[in-house]
Symmetry: none
Subunit: 402 residues, 2 copies
């Protein structure tokens, strides 16, 4: 398959246009019953509706039809990276989710505190779900572990969950989980799947041996298992593939981490939408491309709270006028996946896309919603092509061939 970044590298054109990508996480939804409206269709969104009249709508498929993506593949697709080509390990995502600045030589691991009984078998895979303050203190102790030849970082995530990072030259990231996924058996040895990960496996083993000593009096959290051991994939950087200076304005660490992974500058986003818009205005002259992330359309969907998702969608709508006052050349409003309140989960349903630009082929849309998007001028497309369309509408792609 042709790599779309081979195209964008060759065709990228510099100009002074500005692109805003506003991601309302989990934006797509479902009606609760046939004949009713989705969350987005129910929400009063006068600003998005006006934008729809001056743009064109469509539906994006995050990965492939029928595939519900996690946040990682969902966002990589929106950033123009084929989510099937660039797969992000669980350990890496966990590290990104706590704002840990992962480098190319880092192996990231998701750790779970567990309880080991006297016979050496696991009796509780989550160490009795210890409180977060206890988990945090144990992580501080583990962070003191030293292993010759590598730097060791241990960071607490929440309750029984932690992140371990080994930093050093020549560490492969292909190692099986040590969590046996059941109790009554001992943790598994860290088993390397390739030659290059032999040394990493030995380091994992050395870490576990020391951790056993460090934690021996801390039952129920007297050991840990390792999962999702992985390095970050080699991802070409945004500026190189698109020729844009890109900034991320995201409140949640996971999305800052994903933006950092593709080489965006991660700006201080504060905690509210107003904070984010203040930052956008302050940074407007310094960047060509802005990724703004809004979380609560997803979390209300995950909660199964239809009305709350409607209200959070209206919050997104309320942000539009301040963005438009900056007069961006292209505004894209979309989600990284659908999170229908009806399902309380990420889903595979295609995601509403609104692309507004003077160069859009207006499609007669009068409102932004799933049904309008089905009839939209962008049609249905794989999310990985959205960046090329945004760049094209901003005049940032040369003609292909003569």
């Amino acid at each position: 398959m042709y790599d779309i970044h081979d195209l964008t590298r060759k065709l990228q054109r510099s100009n002074d246009s500005k692109i805003v990508l506003l991601v309302a996480d989990g934006l797509g939804g479902l009606p609760l019953s046939p004949g009713e409206k989705t969350e987005l269709e129910t929400a009063k969104t006068p600003n998005l509706d006006e934008l729809a009249q001056q743009g064109t709508l469509g539906l994006s498929t995050p990965v492939l039809p029928g595939i519900a993506p996690g946040s990682g593949p969902g966002h990589l697709g929106l950033f123009g990276y084929d989510p099937l080509k660039y797969q992000i390990g669980r350990g890496v995502l966990e590290a990104l989710g706590i704002d840990f600045d992962l480098g190319d030589n880092d192996v990231a691991i998701r750790g779970n505190f567990c309880t080991i009984s006297d016979d050496g078998n696991i009796s509780d895979r989550r160490a009795g779900r210890i409180a977060s303050d206890i988990g945090a203190k144990l992580c501080e102790k583990l962070d003191q572990i030293e292993i010759p030849g590598v730097e060791v970082f241990v960071r607490h995530v929440k309750e029984y969950r932690l992140v371990i990072v080994f930093r050093g030259e020549g560490l492969g990231g292909e190692i099986d989980d040590t969590d046996p996924q059941r109790t009554g058996v001992p943790p598994l040895d860290p088993h390397p799947r390739d030659e290059a990960s032999q040394k990493t496996a030995e380091i994992c083993k050395a870490f576990i041996d020391q951790a056993r000593e460090v934690l021996k009096d801390d039952a129920p959290a007297n050991l840990l298992t390792m999962r999702g051991i992985a390095k970050r994939p080699p991802i070409p950087k945004f500026e190189e593939v698109y020729g844009t200076r890109a900034a991320a304005i995201a409140v949640y660490p996971m999305y800052r981490g994903l933006a950092r992974l593709v080489g965006m500058d991660v700006l201080d986003a504060g905690t509210t939408v107003d904070d984010q818009l203040n930052r956008l205005e302050a940074a407007w002259d310094d960047y060509d491309f802005f990724f703004i992330h809004y979380k609560y359309t997803d979390s209300t969907g995950e909660d199964g709270n239809f009305e709350a998702k409607v209200a959070r969608t209206e919050d997104v709508d309320a942000a539009i006028p301040r963005i438009r006052e900056l007069n961006p050349d292209v505004i894209v409003v979309t989600g990284d996946h659908s999170t229908p309140a009806k399902m309380k989960a990420h889903s595979w349903h295609p995601v509403p896309v609104l692309l507004a630009s003077d160069m859009a082929r207006f499609d007669g849309s009068t409102e932004f919603g799933e049904a309008a998007c089905v009839r939209g001028g962008l049609g249905q497309f794989e999310a990985k092509y959205l960046m090329m369309m945004a760049l094209a509408h901003a005049g940032r792609l040369e003609k292909f061939g003569a």
Copy 2:
């Protein structure tokens, strides 16, 4: 990726059906303001509208979403050749554009006359944009150059532009431009990018040495630079991959050249649409597939002349009755890309497609235009699939598998 021609080779079926592909270059457009109509929607096209009622509409993406194609990739897509797989070098296109009959062993080069000052540096990369009659005479002189082991052809294009072709066995086409893209420096040496192009690079150098002598008294055009040095890509022929005898009826050399590249017979098309229709009628019994090319929907778009593009679109409409009188089994009317007058350039916007056939699944369309095409039965698809659909509607493809 699966090669679609592996499918069409295996499935092709011969019958006495006739297919007409009418390409209105740059057909797709944009409304000038939201809520207004495109050029095609503004044009009075009673014949196309009637055809739309007896066919099905759609939108084709020439290359990939967001990618604006040149004429080469635009037409290769329409002919069913993946434009990312078959890329045509600039020198080859330039040669096709002057009706030069390029063979498999030919290396084609776009030349620019330039001015060299006494210190050997380029002082004008376009030789003062010399008049065409002067350029033509200089090309006649250069055409006398002889290089052992190859045939040399030098043809004038326009003003300071020329085409050079070296014909011979074992000539690679991977050589960097000698145009340094700036003045105050000497031309670059022809640098081969692979082993197979070593010999060609030496021939380029020998040619430039002789040209320096031939042109020494012809300032401001006292040397030339070489660009887009290339061989034509190995393209399987139309008859082999589709089993059709195909004819091209195109007024402009570039499109005749592109048709010749895929193995169509290139017929004398005269200079007007009437000439082209006369030729179509005369050749009707001799071919299965007719490619008719109309240029002026593109050139008026490039001029930014909305009204003129509307008028030229109405000219295309006026050609439909004479085509229908011949009773073709399939008529396809489309463009190779969009050229919105609003942008004065080729664009990435998907291209209206009308496919009329007794076997079409009529989609309720009542007119031919971009908005109707968004709702059309063919949906949105990559242009490279259009040929398979045309062949299918003509009964020229067997069932795949049992």
